[in-house]
Each structure stands twice: as structure tokens, then as C-alpha cells.
């Protein structure tokens, strides 16, 4: 257990030290942690506080404000569904309903088998090709409920995020 925590601390510190901008802040550190781990565990928040010379309370204050931060480990695959007005008009609600039904979720969250974490996003930035979802950071536009269902069933059977086509 100690070694797992130690490995985590090392990964976090490496991420904190290798940030691209010279202006390093609590927020930039939290984003670096989330990029590295996919979530912000308690130990990481402590490391961020130490690294930036702030208090753990300050760090949680920032982390709990920005809605992207998660405090539980994500599932193996991350699916984001755009929920903004452009996607709404182009029929994202049926896509969401189908995704919830297929994944057995009632809203945002992670499936029981830890295969998929579903999140809503206010805008994925490809509004001209709405409705849009992103699967392991890959954008898919003009998606139908059927296509979404197909993509999700593919994810449930694969272990690692698919980066290829």
C-alpha cells in the first residue's frame, strides 16, 4: 500500500515539475495532475499544496470549483457527451438517453464494471457537426443514438482506450 502511494506521489511530482508554462499556479498544477492520473486523489491535492506553498483547503477550493475535476478514478474509457444548445437542437437528448440505457446509468458516472465513465460537456467545440461526443478524447460528430450505442458496446469489450481509427 505504502509503495502504491509512493508511486502515486512520484507520478504527481513529475507531472508538477514538467508543466509547460512558466506561470505555475494551484490551477495549473491541478490540471497537470488530472492529465496525468485522470482524477485528483487526496494525496495529489496535498502534493499540489506543498508544491505551490498553499493550503490543502485552498487547493480543494479551486478543485471543487472547476467542474472538470473528478475525485474518483475514472473508468477505463471516458465518454463525454456534448449537452450544449447546438447539440440539443440537433438531437443529443436521444443520444444521451440511449447511452444511459446501454450503460445502465441514471446520469453522469462510471459503470459498475469500471469500463466506461460518462460525462456531460457543455461544449466540445465542433458545433457545426452536432451532436458531438468524445470517446477517449476522440471527437465524433453527427452521431446518432444507434452509432453511439455501437461505439459504447465496442468499449465495453476492449480493455485499453483505443487511439486508432
Amino acid at each position: 500500500m505504502t509503495s502504491t502511494v509512493e508511486t502515486l506521489r512520484q507520478r504527481v511530482n513529475k507531472a508538477l515539475r514538467s508543466q509547460k508554462p512558466e506561470t505555475v499556479t494551484v490551477l495549473s498544477c491541478l490540471l497537470a495532475v488530472e492529465d496525468e492520473l485522470g482524477y485528483v486523489p487526496r494525496q495529489a491535492a496535498e502534493e499540489v499544496a506543498r508544491f505551490t506553498g498553499s493550503t490543502v483547503n485552498d487547493v480543494w477550493g479551486v478543485a471543487s470549483f472547476y467542474t472538470n475535476f473528478r475525485f474518483q478514478p475514472p473508468g477505463r474509457h471516458r465518454v463525454e457527451v456534448c449537452w450544449g444548445p447546438s447539440c440539443h437542437i440537433r438531437g443529443v437528448m436521444p443520444v444521451i438517453q440511449r447511452a444511459l440505457q446501454d450503460l445502465g446509468l441514471s446520469g453522469e458516472g462510471t459503470t459498475g464494471d469500471n469500463a466506461v465513465t460518462l460525462r456531460y460537456n457543455t461544449c466540445l467545440g465542433a458545433c457545426a457537426n452536432a451532436p458531438v461526443i468524445s470517446v477517449d478524447h476522440r471527437l465524433m460528430g453527427r452521431i446518432t443514438p444507434e452509432q453511439a450505442s455501437q461505439v459504447l458496446s465496442g468499449l465495453k469489450s476492449t480493455e485499453e482506450p483505443s487511439h486508432g481509427p
Binding site: T25, P85, C87, I89
Partner: protein, 569 residues
Amino acid sequence: MAPSFEHISDRAARKWQTLTQDRPWIRVGTALCGKAAGADEVVSALEQELERRDIDASISEVGCLGPCFAEPLVDVSTPGGARVVYGGVTPEAAAEIVSSHLVEGRPLAGYALGSLDDGESNGIPRLSDHPMMKLQRRIALRNAGHLDPCDIDQYVANDGYAALRRALTGMTPDEVRQEVAKSGLRGRGGAAFPTATKWNFLAGSKDPVKYILANCEEGDPGAFNDKGILESDPHSLIEGMILAGYATGASMGYVFIRHGHNGPIDRTWRAIEQARESGVLGRSIFGSTFSFNLEVSLTGDSYVAGEETALMESIEGKRAMPRYRPPFPAQVGLFGKPTNINNVKTLAYVPQIVLNGGDWFAAIGRERSAGTAILCLSGSLAYTGMAEVPMGVTLREVVEQVAGGTPNGKKLKLLQTGGPLGGVLSSEALDIPLDFDAMSQAGAILGSGGIIAADEDSCVVDLTRALIAFCQYESCGKCFPCRSGMTHLLEALERICRLESRPEDLTLMEEIGRNMQAGSLCGHGQLGFNPVSSALRHFRGEFERHLVDRTCPVGTCPTPWSSPTSSRR
């Protein structure tokens, strides 16, 4: 020592010669819109096909040309031959295009969106004659989709950094500000404040440390032109920021982007690194006494972070909550120092204004709304995408010509402009010119240029619920009339959409709206009732049918509905 401008412009000219004259050049749009349509697979297919056939051609990943509806777009040119943009290209079509256009020298009319040659090629009409392109006048988007954003040489070969050179070698900071004043440029982030006036405030400060911030938070759903500029032509923003720094005496800048939009972020970083290597950013730029540096600052998910004082809080690493004004940012801004914040689009115009003169820009568009409007067209429209048209073009022309009307012949019902806070406009009120003042008189906001269209199949109450759900989710929570008011508005709208409204819901919403307007620090709460009030203004009857008759005239309510759980509620 940093290379001179002559050195980089010679290098750029040689590279441009190779790209355009020596061998075929294939450009693939891999902006967010292209990627969402499968452009990455098309790039791989093209690379494989060129290798398989042993063809010596350049492939560049470019940004967004504008017609996102036809993504993935592939632009193929051959030395002395035709240059054709193909649309809706699949990996299989990519192989066909290589075979026909590059091997047989015969552009493939079947996939062609238009030709970029002066006349027709093989019966393919000019892209500039396409209804979406015909009314366009491209200034800030002039390079978008044409140049590789990750290649500074392509930018330099097309007048890039020439404005900076002109300013640094022949203009005083005062003269640069005067040129911008003459242009009549007003901010494109939504507030339409005169840019030169803002710059004068900052120039007036004697503090040795000042900041230039470019706002690309762009949290408005339906707005993607700031990200579009960053992933299509980041050097135009960088050049604009350096010019703003020179004009105001600032030597440090930040490009503020929401994390997670990796295309725009990576391309901006790449452009900053290239600008540093080429001596465009850094100490003593082009041998002058002026120095400027720049970096990207990422924010977490927070719509209010796009508000200029909340933005500074976010760069400082804090919660993105608005500050009280005064003091204004030009007095006490980022890290307590004088700061100027401009939208990405505003800054991207500046190099062209310095290069061509303020009078040139002022002559485009309208009297008090000079220049162009950069629009993001989405929703129920045939030609969705990014377009730049002169100010003065009417909303009707935008919708019916540039955007090609609704797909499938549905009747247009409403437009949602200027972001969720901009509210909705009925399709009957479209004879308004794109003009900051005319639009605001008509009760609409041009905002950052987002135009979302809904057709007769959309229920206005359902759409209003979606807009308020967004506003509720994104309230930063600092002012309770906004935080609490949004939640109650959403609950009322959810009841109305379930056809379970209470008799007092309409008056309740109106009262909440008044309180939000009076008691909120920033536009989020002050304008937060707009989606409801504008919908009531144009579609009161439809609301009343839901409220009184408990029926949805469009026949969609109660629709399935799911909204995220906000951590700030």
C-alpha cells in the same frame, strides 16, 4: 542572436516555392470540426496511398476553411495545375482523389466542393461562388484552412509578421494606437468596446510591468471561431498580441484557453515555440529595443472564467469568480498589474490593420461597426461552419444565403445569437444588419458571433430549458441572486416542459429575472434572464399553451431530459 526578419522571410519564401511550385500539395482540415468528421483517418489514408504509389507530394494538416458541414475537407493542388477542395472525403474517397487528381491529372468532380483557381477547373465551379462563400470577406480568417498553423514559414510567406516589422522599424507605439483608432475596431468578445480606447488606458499607465491577455475561453456553446483561429492561424493572434504589447508598453502576454481543447492548445504552443526560435518573440525583436514574451494559460471548466476579471483570477490559479470594478483591469489587473484583455478575433485583425492602414479597415462594414463579423453557424442550417462577412450583411442574408437555410426544407423558427445569454430571435425578425448597435436596439446580441438556428420541429420552451440549464450549471455561485435564481428558473422550466406547471410559474420567473439583473456582479446574472425574456417576447403563445392548456404545440414535450449535476449548486 535572434535571426533577422530578412533571414526568416528568405527562408519562408524558399519553402513556399517548394510547397506551391515543386510538387503537389495536399491540405487536410484537421481542426475540431474536421476531426469530429474523421479527418485523422483521411490523413492516414492519404499518407498510405502516396507511399503505395510512390508519389512525392507534401501533406499539411491545416485548420478550418469554414464549410465545416462538408468536413473532412481535402485541398489538392499541383504545380501549374488545378487546386480543388474536396468535401465529405472518406478514406476510400481519399485514395480515389489521389488516383484521379494526382496520377491522372484529372480533378474529381464528384467529391469537389469548389475550385480555388481563378476560373473553373474541369467543370468544377469556383469555391468563391459557393453560396456559403459568396458574401464572405476574409480578414481574420484569411489564412484559415490555407496555411499549416504549425509552420511559421507559411505564415511569413503570406505577409506574416510584416506588420510587426513595419511597426517596430517605422512606427511609434502612439502611431500604432492611432492606426487602430482610425480603423474603428471594436472588441469582438461581446462588449464591442473600442479597442484603441482600451489600449490607451493601458498605455497611460507608467507601471513597468503590464500584461496583454487574449481571451479564448470561448465557453459559449455554438461559438468556435476563437478556437478556430487558434487552430487555423495562431500566428495572426500572436502577431496581434505582440503589436498590442508594443502599442501599450506591455512585455508579457497570456493566451487564455480552456483545457481539453487539445488541437487549439497544441497548435498555439507550437506557434509560440516557433515564434521564439525565429526571434519574433523574445528579447529585442528584429533588433529593436522592444521585447515581448507569451505563454498559454489553461483554465478548468468554468463559463464565467471568460468574464475578464474572473479570467484574471483563473490565470492566477484561483476560482474564476468576477472581481468588483473599479478598479478596472487597466489599473489593477493580473497579479495586481495593469492589464489589457482582448478577444482572440479582435487581436487577429490587428496585423492587417497595421499593414493596410486604419482607413482601409474603417471602409469595410458599417459606420460604427467597422470590419467584418466572424460567425459560427450551427443548429438547423444547411451550411454549418465558420464564416466571415462584412458588417451590414443582414441576419436574413446570413441565414438564407451564407448558411443555405434549413436542411430538409423545414421552416426556420428562431435564432439563438451571442451565446446562451443572448437569448432568441424569432425568424420573423431577421431583417437586422450585423451591426453592434442595430442588433442591440433589436434586443439581440452579436456577441462572439455564434448563431444557432432552430426549425419548426424545436419546441421553444424545451430550448429555453436547455439554455437556462446551461446558465444554472455555469453560475459561479458568488452572487446568490444568480446562483439561486438560476436554479429556481430551471426548476420552473422543467415543470413547464413536463406539462406540470403551476399557475404562478410565469410571474415567479419574471420576478426571479428582475432580482438576478439587479443583484448580480457580472453579465452571467445580469443577462441570465435573457433566454426566458426573449423567448417570452417572441413566443409567448407557445409558453401559454404549455402553461394553461398543458400541451406542447410542437408535440415534443415532455421530452426526455437529463442534466449534469453541478458542483457549485
